[in-house]
Symmetry: C2
Subunit: 463 residues, 2 copies
């Protein structure tokens, strides 16, 4: 167990000097993440090297001090919220690019770099790193790796687990180690790289990552396809996914999401009767792209398809995306404290999930707005409630429970890219059976015997 009273900070100050923050006012912001949960940490450490991280961990291990690592706090699950009497390690001073090797298709960076800065550096050499969560302007590489955060391009290019070659990390007891290799193939020893990715800072602290780069496409095409209902749109998603021209984004909005963005944005250029919408992007060389667009368009057509519109220039592209981009501010305006889930089901089960969600919305009298990465079956399910209203909060909790049951019944998973943090922890054992859960808890015990690394996150405590 971790400490119940203030830890000894002096040795940390000897390591970090004025890069150890311990006044409450300055620490305050480091107690938050995008879940709106907050716990004030005892101190915030701003290390500048792997060696400093190792020295911090050696001290925290010896004194059973809880450590929560954070990038920029964009987690939606409480994953970046520290423990009382624990410390925060912020990676903000470890944001360097160590190397870019175009001929080896790799980039080596520290965890505090933002996804966007990373992409700019890669783009300079004609490459990109596929994971691109919506928060990429502020979200850090370390946070992307901690939650396996992927974004829309995952449908074609995969998640961080498919795009990371090697890691340097620091153990709970303060030892620096490397795993994986700088090559795209390798089978020496067990795969610790993928084990650390998605573990939400509970197994080790990632201090450097070797990322697999992909060449930038020459051109991108954008399509908007309108359907009479979600069932027709979901059937189109399945048809698109069953042919070889894979889109680099395949996003869906349901009828509620369309209505909401229409009310917010004012304009309406959709055919009447539109009950669901797909935003589709394809990429490739200028010469091959038209053929891909033709193939995707053919697959997008079918029963219930009302219109498919292609953008022919930047202005038209922006116009097509306008509705999707209006969605987030619209939702924030209507329900600033909405619950945003990111469940996943196999693509063919999207219609069944949407039907269940419509039924549950009625049963619990909660407006539910659905949109997300349909090509991966990854839906952002938004419950528009005010959690400060006890009755609404209660109904939402019961409704959420039924949603998760339904997702698991449809052979899905509770989180595609947000992770578990503290807020979804109570449902983990509904998805993961006792035998694999005990193996995961055993791995946690092995990597972090004092349970100081981000306690209370990702996995339920052992029974």
């Amino acid at each position: 167990m971790t400490r119940t009273h203030l830890p000894p900070l002096e040795p940390l100050r000897q390591i970090l000097g004025d890069r150890l923050i311990s006044d409450a006012a300055s620490c305050w912001i480091y107690g938050l993440d995008n879940s709106r949960l907050h716990t004030l940490p005892a101190a915030v450490a701003l290390p500048e090297s792997s060696q400093e991280v190792a020295a911090i961990m050696a001290h925290c291990h010896a004194h059973h001090i809880a450590v929560t690592v954070r990038g920029r706090g964009t987690a939606t699950t409480g994953a970046a919220v520290p423990q009382a009497n624990g410390i925060v390690i912020s990676t903000e001073r470890m944001a360097a690019i160590r190397a870019i090797q175009p001929e080896n298709r790799l980039l080596i960076a520290q965890p505090g770099i933002t996804n966007q800065v990373l992409q700019q550096a890669a783009a300079h050499h004609g490459f990109f790193w596929p994971p691109d969560p919506t928060s990429s302007a502020v979200a850090t590489l370390g946070g992307n790796l901690a939650t396996n955060a992927a974004g829309p391009r995952a449908v074609k290019y995969g998640t961080p687990r498919e795009n990371t070659l090697a890691l340097e990390a620091v153990t709970a007891s303060g030892e620096i180690f490397r795993c994986g290799s700088a090559t795209t193939k390798g089978v020496v020893g067990y795969d610790l790289v993928r084990l650390l990715i998605g573990s939400e800072g509970t197994l080790a602290i990632i201090t450097e990552a070797t990322l697999k780069l992909t060449p930038l496409p020459d051109a991108i095409a954008t399509l908007r396809a309108c359907y009479a209902n979600v069932g027709a749109a979901a059937a189109a998603v399945a048809r698109i996914m069953a042919q070889p021209a894979i889109p680099c984004a395949l996003e869906m909005m349901d009828g509620k999401a369309i209505a909401m963005s229409r009310d917010y944005a004012g304009s309406d250029d959709l055919p009447s009767g539109t009950g669901a919408l797909l935003m589709i992007e394809a990429d490739g060389s200028a010469a091959t792209l038209p053929e891909s667009v033709t193939a995707i368009t053919a697959a997008a057509q079918g029963d219930g398809c009302l219109e498919i519109r292609a953008a022919h220039n930047k202005a038209e592209t922006a116009a097509l995306w306008q509705r999707r981009k209006a969605l987030s501010p619209a939702l924030r305006q209507i329900a600033p404290k909405k619950i945003n889930e990111d469940v996943v089901v196999p693509v063919a089960q999207i219609p069944a999930l949407i039907a269940s969600l419509e039924q549950l919305a009625q049963e619990f009298a909660i407006t539910i707005v659905n949109f997300g990465h349909a090509g991966n079956g990854n839906l952002h399910v938004n419950l528009l409630i005010n959690p400060d209203d006890a009755q609404q909060a209660n109904a939402a909790a019961l409704c959420l429970d039924r949603i998760f049951d339904r997702v698991l019944h449809l052979n899905g998973t509770l989180s595609g890219e947000h992770g578990i943090g503290s807020v979804k922890r109570q449902w983990v054992s509904r998805e993961i059976a006792p035998v694999p859960l005990a193996l995961m808890q055993g791995i946690k015990q092995l990597f972090d015997p004092h349970h100081i690394l981000n306690p209370g996150k990702a996995l339920p405590d052992p029974m």
Copy 2:
């Protein structure tokens, strides 16, 4: 420790009936793999279900009986060779396809199915599973997963770790569990799927796999590019890998390999002065493929490029591949007991590796023939020796040691897809440092406390 005398077999007979083989003559073949090592097992079990595997493991766990799982024994490293007084579980009776879901792009199969049968079933629905080791006609899915075996298409489509969604497995103590999910995104709990893949049967027994399928391309184009030397060919590989049109195979042969296949096949249609050769395949739709071929051809051209020839029909394709296909029988004829390594270096380091190999070949007076999956930096390094000649065997051991040192110095890894088995175990601790090695050994201890799962393979024993 596992047993030093014959284990109690009667309970296994009660589970399996005549599917427990215990006469030495019938067991003999199950003691071999393609490393030519051999140990006679005490018995061979032919389970037909996960439940039977679980019952076998419960018994073996209770009695500390070593268990080596095998598919068809194509491992080159001794990974499928059992322990004396241990048993073999052969997956040959667990070879069913459980489901194919084109709309979800997945296929569920048991481990005993061969890669080829799996591909045929997927092709029937317009899909394929990217991993395609050269041994695909006989190698099983279970073996592919155990060693993360990939083959030439990995350069575009990745290895089993990038193409497997979920697993069912049986623990060392005989409990059935599932990990991963049927979806292409998911971040609930730690990634046990990738931990089991590549673990060579030392952590759990895979009894079912949910595989991510990829749509079959409409068309494939084949190119052969000839270069004055390996340096020029390797530079072309780096240029090809730095542009967006990714080949689906990018294979290299060095001058020795070319000479060998020329002597064997007789014919010679290469430009004079050819010192290295690339076999390149690209795939796509019939409409987009010519553009990809143009881009790849442009990248393949450059200093030292003597000729690029494209196949225009099946006969020409076969003619271009003839030299590469002649290589294996040629090598077998010349050195039936050759040592075949599968080291990997970053693509840009291929010339440095080849230069070192030429130097070592001279120093140790050993003919070394190099070919392999250049797009991944994965070279099959063949030492043409007769291990029955003590002097040659001794020189080869010293040479191999130097080769591995050089590979690690070039930031590479000891195995791309063959794995470690027993034959490369002594070198693992040269690649993996004490801290991560101790974590891996801790994982082994957690998953298999009696060390009965494929003992003596993959990792060195704990100190």
